[in-house]
Amino acid sequence: MITFILKRIGLALITLWLLSVIVFLLGQILPGDPGRAILGPLAAPSAVAALDHQLGVDRSLPGQYWHWISSFPGTSYTYQTAIGPILTSALGRSLKLAVLAGIIVVPLGILAGVIAALNVGRPLDKIISIGGGSTTVIPEFVSGIILLVVVGVALKWLPITATAPAGSSFLTTVKYLIMPAIPLVLVLFGYIARMARAGTVEALDSDYARTATLKGLPRGVMIRRHVLRNSLLPTITVVATQTGYLIGGLVVVETLFRYQGIGQLTYQAATQKDFPMLEACVLTIGVVYMAVTIAADVLFSLLDPRIRLKAGQ
């Protein structure tokens, strides 16, 4: 198991390095330059040149890349300040929102999927399947705006922004995060319920489930011990692959709810050509994504002894 994890970490490090090179090269294709982005389109060319020189973006490409590697995470071009504190606070906010959305949607999605599978073809199954499919296709900016207008402005039930005042208690922070978490729950609920349903239907139809039933196991025990263990495997994969989205892909939700997470930060860094910030953001999202994927693999192997065996061989 340890060899398996170490191998995965080694691969992850190579992937991250490749990612940094790709982002750096792709970043060169983006139009404009940092000096121009900071000083605005109407600034004098001499001022732009002076700023570009100060920032070091007039160096050769390998020179810029080496300077970034050697001073990682470095200083933001745009904010003229150290990247570390900005990035960690943005990541902290993104993680809070992602974890809250995850805590709501994962059990809810799995439960709904299993219930649908146990009622295949019946009205309950159809309600869950069609309902889940429908919420998944509602873009976050649509559900977000509707929530803001109805729940925030008209009913005034929940705060209209996601950022709780400084020094707020845990419960107040959660209260501020509920409304922005709902659009994410709506988007992910359909995916997770669908995967859980499909996995459960397949497992219920399997030989081992039939054997368990025939040998006289009560239905509840059979589902818990034999069906869920197997049916959850694809669901875990889905949840793990959505982590990147939940951490770094929430630009719209963060904009709507005035929440300075890592999604916004990445988007701004890309539009401002703030290369050190962009690299730091993408790599951070990459690290979180890979950590979750490795965790999912470990969980996978715990649930499925065959994978453990393969890794051991």
Partner: protein, 566 residues
């Protein structure tokens, strides 16, 4: 109007030739009360003197240029002491560095703690002394002398003197610096032109005479807040050091900022006990935050997408006349726009009143394809306004050899209502047989490097761009239209025009400025290198319990006199 000639004679004595000229213009009715205030303040006449002259002429208190759709924010609610005001503004796009700030959010942050030599008040349409008590030009307006306000201290307790002012302007005008103010000072002021005559007097020797120079060192030039000598601008964000009524409480990148009253402020102390700014990256959440009670004020917004707020009488809206506009350039050196008749034809297809009503919800006014408009007193209003005339447009096209019209591409940017404006222009032009294909790009792609040959903005055959507000039309007249202008997207080269602009910039008295403005306006209507369809008002919104807000049309917000009742 009852006039007191004795009082007027008393006030005239000892005044300069130029000051007496303005008094004559006021007496003869050539200058309105508002214009007298504006021009008088530009050449350094004090507010009490201007008021006394107006009173002697039988006129009353100064006019204000703001109008309010649902009660004026400056008058209605009674002033209350204490309390925290929460304000939604656009997030500063980069570090808040006085040298490099170029965006609405950033410049609004600068003016919270920083002050200028002069304040250009949109509410009063006049220049008001801020850190300079008085200013005056030499005879040809090539040297300006500023007397500083005594007893002003920075937030660190250090006294403000001419050394700080000289340092600030030398940094702003230094071509070697990454200074945003270089777009204002290039060709006007060099670092060597700023010197201290004594601890309280600063002299600016200009590269060329400039009758409107006080505007260039006023709050209009939003980078020009006075900082202590030796300030490292790149680290200013950690202190926000200035001389203003508020000083920094806290600043969190991309999230917000708080400010608290400065107990040693030279002027009237603020009423509020704290201001809290919340940063937003788009307009809809700002408006929802006001409606949802999360903020008390929306610093500046545009009509597009704000109809819910504009049509709701339970909010106060402050509306400021502004020179914020859109400019459609046509390449004078490229077919089919080499012929001025073709350019005129495009201008005649536009239904401007419909644009103002539809795209700006009425919060603006029609423009006449020249940088002169209602914001500037020097505008010659006798020049007729261009109106839609499709048959004339068709005649002009036929005469120019395009009886069946032509097809052309229009490059523009994704910004506020501009994509919609481009669509309306294309629809209007179609009536005369002109087929305009739109190319709407992100701002970074559209502006490119902002130099000729590297920018769709500057290189497009037709190009539609935004221009922000300015207190004087100098930049609008020079950069996009003179032969050497760095933003001359129309490639307009006209020696008569260049010479007229030079004369206009140097002119100090209003009558001369207006005379030249008339000539410029007529020449631009004849040549039509660019089309300016409308002027856009500056809008600020608040809940009804907020009073005393003092916004400017470039997105600054002065909260010295603001208060919030329970």
């Amino acid at each position: 109007m009852t006039r007191s000639n004795d009082e007027l004679d008393r006030l005239r004595s000892g005044r300069s030739e130029l000051e007496n000229h303005y008094i004559d213009e006021l007496v003869t009715g050539n200058l309105s009360r508002r214009e007298f205030l504006r021009r008088g303040s530009t050449i350094g006449m004090s507010a009490p003197l201007l008021g006394a002259i107006l009173a002697a002429c039988g006129a009353s208190s100064p006019a204000t240029s703001s109008s309010s759709k649902s009660g004026s924010s400056t008058t209605s609610a009674p002033a209350t002491k204490g309390g925290m005001l929460r304000i939604a503004i656009a997030a500063p796009a980069a570090a808040v560095n006085p040298l490099s700030v170029s965006d609405a959010g950033g410049l609004c942050m600068l003016n919270q703690t920083g002050e200028f030599l002069i304040f250009d008040s949109n509410l009063k349409l006049a220049l008001e002394p801020m850190l300079a008590l008085s200013w005056s030009p030499n005879k040809d307006a090539s040297v300006w002398t500023f007397k500083l306000r005594p007893g002003v201290t920075f937030h660190n307790g250090q006294a403000m003197t001419s050394a700080d002012v000289v340092y600030t302007f030398q940094q702003l005008a230094d071509p070697k610096n990454a200074s945003n103010a270089l777009s204002t000072f290039t060709g006007v002021l060099l670092p060597s032109g700023v010197k201290a005559l004594d601890p309280m007097t600063v002299e600016f020797t200009l590269e060329a005479p400039n009758g409107n120079f006080p505007y260039l060192v006023s709050s209009d030039n939003y980078n020009a807040i006075i900082v202590p000598k030796g300030t490292d601008f790149s680290k200013w964000q950690s202190t926000f050091i200035g001389t203003g009524a508020f000083k920094l409480g806290s600043y969190t990148q991309n999230v917000g900022a708080t400010f608290v009253p400065n107990p040693s402020y030279w002027g009237t102390k603020p009423l509020l006990s704290m201001t809290s700014f919340k940063f937003y990256t788009s307009q809809p959440p700002m408006i929802l935050a006001l409606e949802g009670g999360d903020v008390d004020v929306v610093g500046q917004f545009v009509p597009a997408g704000a109809s819910g707020l504009l049509n709701n009488s339970s909010y106060k809206i402050i509306k400021l006349q502004s020179a914020n506009h859109r400019e459609l350039s046509m390449r004078n050196d490229q077919a089919p726009f080499t012929d001025p008749r073709v350019r005129q034809a495009v201008a005649y297809t536009l239904n401007r009143p419909a644009m103002v009503a539809g795209l700006l919800s009425g919060d603006g006014s029609v423009a006449n394809d020249t940088p002169f408009g209602p914001r500037f007193p020097s505008t010659d209003t006798s020049v007729p306004q261009r109106v839609q005339n499709i048959s004339l447009a068709k005649q002009l096209l036929s005469a120019a050899g395009h009886p069946n019209g032509f097809s052309v591409k229009l490059d523009t940017e994704q910004f506020e209502e501009i994509p919609q404006l481009a669509t309306v222009i294309a629809q209007d032009a179609k009536a005369a047989g002109i087929n305009i294909a739109l190319n709407v790009e992100s701002q970074s792609l559209y502006y490119g490097k902002s130099t000729f040959g590297n920018s769709d903005w500057l290189d497009g055959t037709m190009s539609l761009v935004d221009y922000g507000d300015r207190g004087v039309p100098n930049v609008f007249l020079e950069a996009p239209l003179t032969s050497g202008g760095p933003w001359n997207a129309a490639r307009f080269h006209n020696k008569t025009y260049d010479s007229l602009v030079k004369q206009y910039v140097a002119a100090v008295d209003l009558a001369t400025q207006r005379k030249i403005a008339g000539q410029i306006e007529r020449l631009l209507l004849q040549e039509t290198p660019i089309i300016i369809p409308y002027w856009i008002d500056g809008l600020t919104a608040s809940t009804p319990n907020v009073s005393g807000l003092n916004p400017t049309s470039i997105a600054q917000l002065y909260l010295n006199g603001a208060s919030k009742s329970a």
